[in-house]
Structure formats: structure tokens, C-alpha cells
């Protein structure tokens, strides 16, 4: 045991000599011993002959805990485990910085959203006639305020998503998700925009999609952004095809439109933050150039792939292949 380990564990080399790891410390997650498939972590390292690396807590003999980035490896000699090595680093300070980052995003989001909520609810109330009759001209103006405010809300939400990505405060909370219901709810939310442009949506997915254990928030963000782009960048009476399939261990998503397409010169910049294609700059679309950057970041985080095919003035198809395990709760990373 080196000096750093003695300092973190609060034990001297002399005290630790001839003791087992369990006599010195415990490896915990959420105040309970870490178990892999129901077995204690150290036993699993030896039995499975694998390396386990993760951020956990080391509970010292005095009862206090220290957050650590830890890696536990077996020492294998001619196929027999003869011992093990535990390497860990105190990440208390990193955790504190993460907390500060997270609190900052919380505060900013709260302060930015509060005035937008007031405008949102007031315009809704006025348009519904809750505060008395409004004439058609007034209605038109209030509707414009409401639409602009919604665009601002969407921009703030996108900026907050980007902040979470860039500050690396992503967390994954996987739960059983009814995929059909999820996709249907996204389309339902866009129904006004779809009907306003008389677009025809072809659905290539069925209830047989079933229930998948995945973080619905991220899958929703991916599909929502792709569908919203297809609506924005397709002229009236166009078509949108949405395909969702489970392909082996992957969730396959394809969103095709008969829209403006992406000019050849812009193809390489599609996933760049704040990118807007040249051919839509003069059109009345309300994109903010963050959607595809967010989608790409989530897909990369999950270890998936995103690609597209586009022909200017014909349309664009975005494809996503998302490993379902990539958006499950992060398990100890096992290296064979």
C-alpha cells in the first residue's frame, strides 16, 4: 500500500499489514456494499477474472466515506487468480466542482424560465378570453407574442441541454418505456405544426415496439429534434416518414422528409453547434442551430451512430442507431 492509499484510507502501512481489504475498508454505492450480480465486488473480480472500474465510495474504518475513482484488477498467473490490485483516486474535489456546475445550471435555468412562464401563461389566458374579449387584431398581436415566447423557451431549453452536455452533468435514469406511446406523444405535440403546413406523416412503427428499458428523456430529445427539423425544413404539403425499429441490441430511428435538403457545401458542418444551412437562412424557419448538435452529443454519449443522406430541394433523411445498453443506468465497466 503506497502513501496516497494510506492517506485516503486513514491507516498506516504497519496497521494494514497482514489484513485483508475488507478489514481495512469497504467499497460502497449509496451506503451499501457494491454487489455484482449479487456477489461482493472483490469476489466478482476474482470469479469473473475481469477488471471493474467506476466511481464509488470507499468507507473507512472510522465510518466516514470518500468518493473515489477506483479500478480493481485480478492478478492472473497461468489462468489462476493469485491476487489483486486496487487502484483508487480521491475525487472529492471533482464531486464538489460537479455540484457547483449543477447548481449553476439550476439557478440559470430557474432565472431564465421564470419571466418566460409569466408571458406564456398570460398570453394563453388572454387568447382564451379569460380576461375579457379581445378583438382580432389584438388576438393576432398576442398570438405573435406567444409564438415568439415559445421560441425563446425552446432556445433556453436547448441552451440548458447544451450546458449539461458541455459541463458533463449527464446522468442516465433508465426505466421501462413504452416506445410506441413515446413516439406517438411526440407526434401529438407537433400536430399543430404538421397540420399548419398540411404535411403528411407516414408512420413505420407499430405497437410491437413494446417496452424497452432506456432513458426516455434522451430518446425523446433525439426523436423530437429530428421530427421538429423535418417539420421546420419541409415546405407545405410535403411528406415525413418516421421509422422506429428494434434491430438486435440497437434502437434504429430514421426520419425522412421531402424538404429543402442540405447544400453540398454545408454537409460537413451539419452537427456543428449553431449550424444553419445556407439555403434556409432566408426562409421563415425558427431553428436555433442547436438541435442536431444535441442529438449528436447524446448519440455519441450512448456509443451510437448518426448519419444522414440529403439532396438539396429533394429532402433529407437522418438515421440513428442507438445501442439500448448505452442509455441504461451505467453499470460497472467490465474489461475482459
Amino acid at each position: 500500500m503506497n502513501v496516497a492509499a494510506q492517506e485516503i484510507l486513514g491507516i498506516s502501512l504497519a496497521d494494514a499489514t497482514h489484513k485483508t481489504w475488507d478489514d481495512i475498508a469497504r467499497i460502497e454505492s449509496h451506503d451499501t456494499d457494491v454487489l455484482i450480480d449479487g456477489k461482493p465486488l472483490i469476489d466478482s473480480v476474482f470469479l469473473n477474472q475481469k477488471i471493474y472500474s467506476k466511481e464509488w465510495y470507499v468507507k473507512k474504518r472510522d465510518g466516514t466515506s470518500v468518493p473515489v475513482a477506483i479500478s480493481i484488477s485480478p492478478i492472473i498467473d497461468r489462468a489462476i487468480v493469485v491476487g489483486g490490485i486496487i487502484v483508487f483516486r480521491n475525487i472529492e474535489q471533482e464531486k464538489e466542482i460537479d455540484t457547483v456546475k449543477s447548481e449553476f445550471i439550476s439557478l440559470v435555468s430557474h432565472q431564465l424560465r421564470t419571466p418566460l412562464s409569466a408571458v406564456n401563461w398570460c398570453t394563453e389566458s388572454l387568447l382564451a378570453g379569460d380576461r375579457g374579449k379581445v378583438n382580432n387584431k389584438q388576438k393576432e398581436y398576442i398570438a405573435r407574442i406567444s409564438e415568439s415566447n415559445k421560441r425563446m423557451i425552446s432556445l433556453v431549453n436547448s441552451i440548458l441541454d447544451v450546458s449539461q452536455i458541455e459541463l458533463n452533468t449527464f446522468t442516465v435514469d433508465a426505466k421501462p418505456v413504452d416506445m410506441f406511446a413515446l413516439v406517438e406523444s411526440i407526434i401529438k405535440e407537433s400536430v399543430h405544426a404538421i397540420s399548419a403546413k398540411q404535411l403528411v406523416v407516414h408512420k413505420h412503427y407499430t405497437k410491437s415496439l413494446g417496452v424497452i428499458v432506456i432513458d426516455a428523456r434522451y430518446v425523446r430529445m433525439i426523436i423530437e429534434n429530428l421530427v421538429s427539423n423535418a417539420i421546420k425544413y419541409t415546405p407545405e404539403k410535403g411528406n415525413i416518414d418516421i421509422t422506429i425499429e428494434e434491430r438486435g441490441a440497437d434502437l434504429y430511428i430514421a426520419v425522412a422528409d421531402t424538404g429543402y435538403g442540405i447544400p453540398k457545401n454545408d454537409l460537413s458542418k451539419v452537427f456543428t453547434k449553431l449550424f444553419r444551412a445556407h439555403n434556409i437562412m432566408n426562409k421563415d424557419t425558427d431553428g436555433n442551430g442547436l438541435g442536431l448538435y444535441i442529438v449528436k452529443s447524446i448519440v455519441d454519449y450512448a456509443g451510437g451512430k448518426i448519419w444522414f443522406e440529403s439532396v438539396e430541394d429533394k429532402g433529407t433523411t437522418f438515421f440513428v442507431s442507438l445501442p439500448i445498453h448505452g442509455l441504461k443506468n451505467k453499470l460497472p465497466k467490465a474489461v475482459s
Binding site: 435555468s109 424560465r113 412562464s117
Partner: protein, 134 residues
């Protein structure tokens, strides 16, 4: 001193408690609830929630998180710890929208969580109705 206000027009409909410190936002929400025939009790800080709940028959709580005196999270703990109030549905409406905030609220047992800027008044009413079957 915490202030508790009751709706002007008592109806036979269910009662909703609105705990929201922004007086203007509170008024807009209360107007909508009253228009939809709910009785409304309003409070403007965290301390006032439990007294308001225990002194009347409230069917649902709409709760903000960032409030003076006590946060919405602490208020949820109090509601859940009190046998007289623990079964009252709680709908959190806050402009905090981080996953950690949502997860924390759900772990504490709120029925739903919505980011205020992302939900319409009509959708709030729909949710309230769905939880109290009004």
C-alpha cells in the same frame, strides 16, 4: 407571518392549494382554476402549506420549489410525514428542470413534475383533473 388566502367564490367543486411565491403567476393560475370551478387556497411561502392543509379539505397541492421560509422539497417531506396529509396528491410546478430535481421530487413521492415555462395552463388543469378525477 405566513398568509393563507381562500378563493372568493366557494363552489361545490374540489379544492386545490396553490403554493407559489410569485404573486402574479399565482394569480394567473388561480384565476384559471377558479374559472374551471375549483375552490382555491393560496399560500406564498413554504411554512404556510401544512397549516393550510390541516385546516381544510384540500384535494390536491400545486407546489413550487423555490419559496421563502421553506423549499418545496422540505414541504413534500412534511406533507408525507403527516398522516392527515400524506395521501394528498402533489403536483410540482417549478422552473427548476434538471433531472436531479425531477428525480429527487419523484423519490419523495410527488405525483408529477412540470417545468412551468414548458406547460400550458390548459395542460395544468387537465393534470389536476386527472389526479382528483374531477
Amino acid at each position: 407571518m405566513s398568509v393563507v388566502k381562500k378563493t372568493k367564490k366557494q363552489t361545490t367543486g374540489p379544492t386545490v392549494l396553490v403554493a407559489e411565491d410569485d404573486e402574479f403567476l399565482s394569480r394567473v393560475l388561480v384565476d384559471k382554476l377558479e374559472k374551471e370551478k375549483f375552490n382555491v387556497v393560496t399560500v406564498f411561502d413554504g411554512d404556510a402549506v401544512i397549516p393550510a392543509l390541516t385546516s381544510g379539505s384540500v384535494n390536491l397541492v400545486i407546489l413550487d420549489i423555490i419559496m421563502p421560509k421553506k423549499t418545496g422539497f422540505d414541504v413534500i417531506d412534511e406533507i408525507k410525514a403527516n398522516p392527515a396529509t400524506k395521501d394528498i396528491p402533489i403536483l410540482l410546478l417549478s422552473n427548476l428542470g434538471q433531472e436531479s430535481d425531477i428525480a429527487r421530487a419523484k423519490e419523495k413521492g410527488v405525483h408529477d413534475y412540470f417545468v412551468k415555462s414548458n406547460i400550458s395552463l390548459a395542460a395544468v388543469i387537465e393534470k389536476v383533473r386527472s389526479y382528483i378525477h374531477a
